[in-house]
Symmetry: C2
């Protein structure tokens, strides 16, 4: 148990330079960060320090072998000034699941949670209160130990940095269902939030953007017949009144928003099916009019309605409905996150 | 065209601290490195600078999204003091193939080659001359631009660092043929030398090491029935007198050693087959005695004979032959690399 986290405060707060009424996503960073080093075979005591450049040996393994994992969370401030997190223990556990797959030493849960609480205390003023804004929290771990041998490093850094943020997407989201490229392999690292999973998506996503889409929907690498997930969101499809999402697997990130949406929808008596979802079924439903909605779900993007999709050269439009599951569920989840309603699930954690 | 590369020399050479008669692989680094920044939409002029820590914003995308690629090459010094590279243009081209897949801007070939030549001139004294030693060269590119948005960075660093090195493996190499984990997906980044491909192998390799093997032989992620490659080597199998290696694909690195070995073997009238290779065929050949050799081929490991393999709980031993293809081909290729024999292929490049 750590009782007290050492805090070294910055002498030059940047907070007055920030326009909180006009925040982009993840591009201005708060004054402090949590820093914790793994060396001599163990995680050293975490510290809150000024947000500042990191100095690394050119042979540090992060540069060569992609040994890194991360998380994404948000802190909210309610009308009474309470500071709230959403299911944070699930992020800690998932970070360690990712770390294990990448041969990175797991971080003690209390180092993470006590460190994060202290960081939020120190940078509390950075938590935006505007509707739709929040403090995006980025915990990450990477290999800082050096060597040109393709093997795990012996030193690592765990950092939590934060960024007051607005919406992840601006404007409508059209997606391309991928037929050629893939995000992950059976037996690979797709279920981990490993850095390399993201870089691998950039080029196919650029190709999709050139064709007028914002995101790629990944399909399985073997047949490209099944819908997997998007770059940073799990995918839900509504056919008639049933909400469908694919099962998680070793290729797919087990999203915290996804599982919360499933629980929320079921508690509202929406019929939810978690089962393999064929692209052909979605195309067929689009053609016969039973496809009502598609949306992505993730911490950064919350719930993002999809306005249309491309597949094998054809484009399909989603109907513009009045009352959507997406808007209903988005309101339910953000109301719980921001303490506007009761939280029957016990998901909210008040840290101040 | 760059005519002259700026050189800033170190004031504190570390060369006298190095025991050149007892070099490990890739763990001591030469005095200088080549450094080149991509910013404002283009690669700036490369410079040779002292080998020194790199300072990065905590939000630099290398830490979060694994956007990085690298190469591995060697410089040799012959008896007359000539400095030699082996097919270096193929490394430059492959670096750019990798970069393209990872949405990293491609580096101009002359920045790479002129920069490398200047670096080798400055650090010439670091090139070991002992048999089996060489100067290992590590070119790499990574995302230095900052932001918590999963999209390509707008700034990158290209660095070439070098390390006087001995053998990659010490002792015999036993391999485990993988049945569960995978290295790469169809449509993925397996053919690129992307950082993330390596981190993903560490955990399965650790499990193999715990069982008494040194390396994993990867199989296809769909059926696990076909042999792909090892962690940092392509794989050759000799059945009777035929040398067999799998075809390259978007899952497999197109190794420069591999293709040189194929050409060398063919020029020596060894029968070579490049075709899908089933694990079952290798197991069958091991059982009936027609399996004569297995070896890995790569720049770091050169040619590494495999002494045995595990598969589905069974262990198979390779025979201990007197005259092996592995030792014959290893001598041929290293003799060419180190200028002990003629080079009918035009592979060697003398840079001094
Ligand atoms: C690949 C991927 N899928 C899904 C998600 C959604 O997960 P969560 O809801 O836990 O943020 C994310 C983002 O975290 C992601 O990176
Ligand atoms: C995955 C992988 N396969 C094969 C090789 C061998 O390639 P090369 O002979 O070009 O060094 C390497 C090393 O570079 C590698 O990393």
């Amino acid at each position: 148990m750590i009782n007290e986290i050492e805090v070294i405060k910055t002498k030059n707060s940047k907070i007055n330079e920030v326009d909180f009424s006009n925040l982009k996503f993840g591009s201005v960073f708060s004054d402090h960060m949590l820093e914790c080093d793994f060396k001599d075979g163990k995680w050293q005591a975490p510290k809150v320090v000024p947000y500042a450049p990191i100095s690394l040996d050119p042979a540090a393994k992060i540069f060569h072998y992609g040994q890194s994992v991360f998380e994404g969370m948000k802190a909210y401030k309610d009308a009474d000034g309470n500071v709230l997190l959403f299911r944070p223990i699930d992020n800690v556990k998932r970070l360690n699941i990712s770390s294990k797959r990448l041969a990175i030493p797991e971080i003690p849960e209390n180092y993470f949670m006590d460190g994060l609480k202290t960081l939020l205390e120190v940078d509390e003023a950075w938590i935006p209160t505007q509707d739709g804004s929040s403090l995006y929290i980025r915990p990450f771990v990477f290999a800082s130990g050096a060597g040109f041998h393709a093997s795990p490093a012996n030193e690592y850094k765990f950092i939590i940095a934060t960024a007051p943020s607005g919406a992840y997407f601006s404007g409508e989201v059209r997606v391309l269902i991928e037929e050629k490229y893939s995000r992950s392999a059976n037996g690979g690292v797709g279920y981990a939030k490993a850095g390399g999973n993201y870089a691998g998506q950039f080029y196919p996503t650029q190709l999709a953007i050139e064709k007028g889409y914002q995101q790629v929907i990944w399909t399985d690498d073997n047949t490209h017949e099944y819908i997997e997930e998007a770059g940073a969101m799990n995918i839900f499809v509504r056919i008639n009144d049933t909400l469908i999402t694919g099962p998680t697997s070793d290729r797919i990130l087990d999203g915290i928003t996804r599982k919360s949406i499933i629980e929320l929808a079921e508690s509202e008596n929406i019929n939810v099916e978690v089962r393999p979802l064929k692209v052909a079924e979605v195309v067929e439903a689009a053609k016969n009019g039973s496809l009502k909605e598609m949306f992505g779900a993730g911490t950064a993007a919350v719930i993002s309605p999809i306005s249309g999709f491309g597949y094998k050269g054809d484009d399909f439009e989603l109907p513009k409905l009045e009352d959507t599951y997406a808007s209903f569920l988005k309101k339910r989840i953000t109301d719980i996150q921001t303490n506007k309603v009761e939280d029957p699930f016990g998901w909210r954690l008040q840290v101040k």
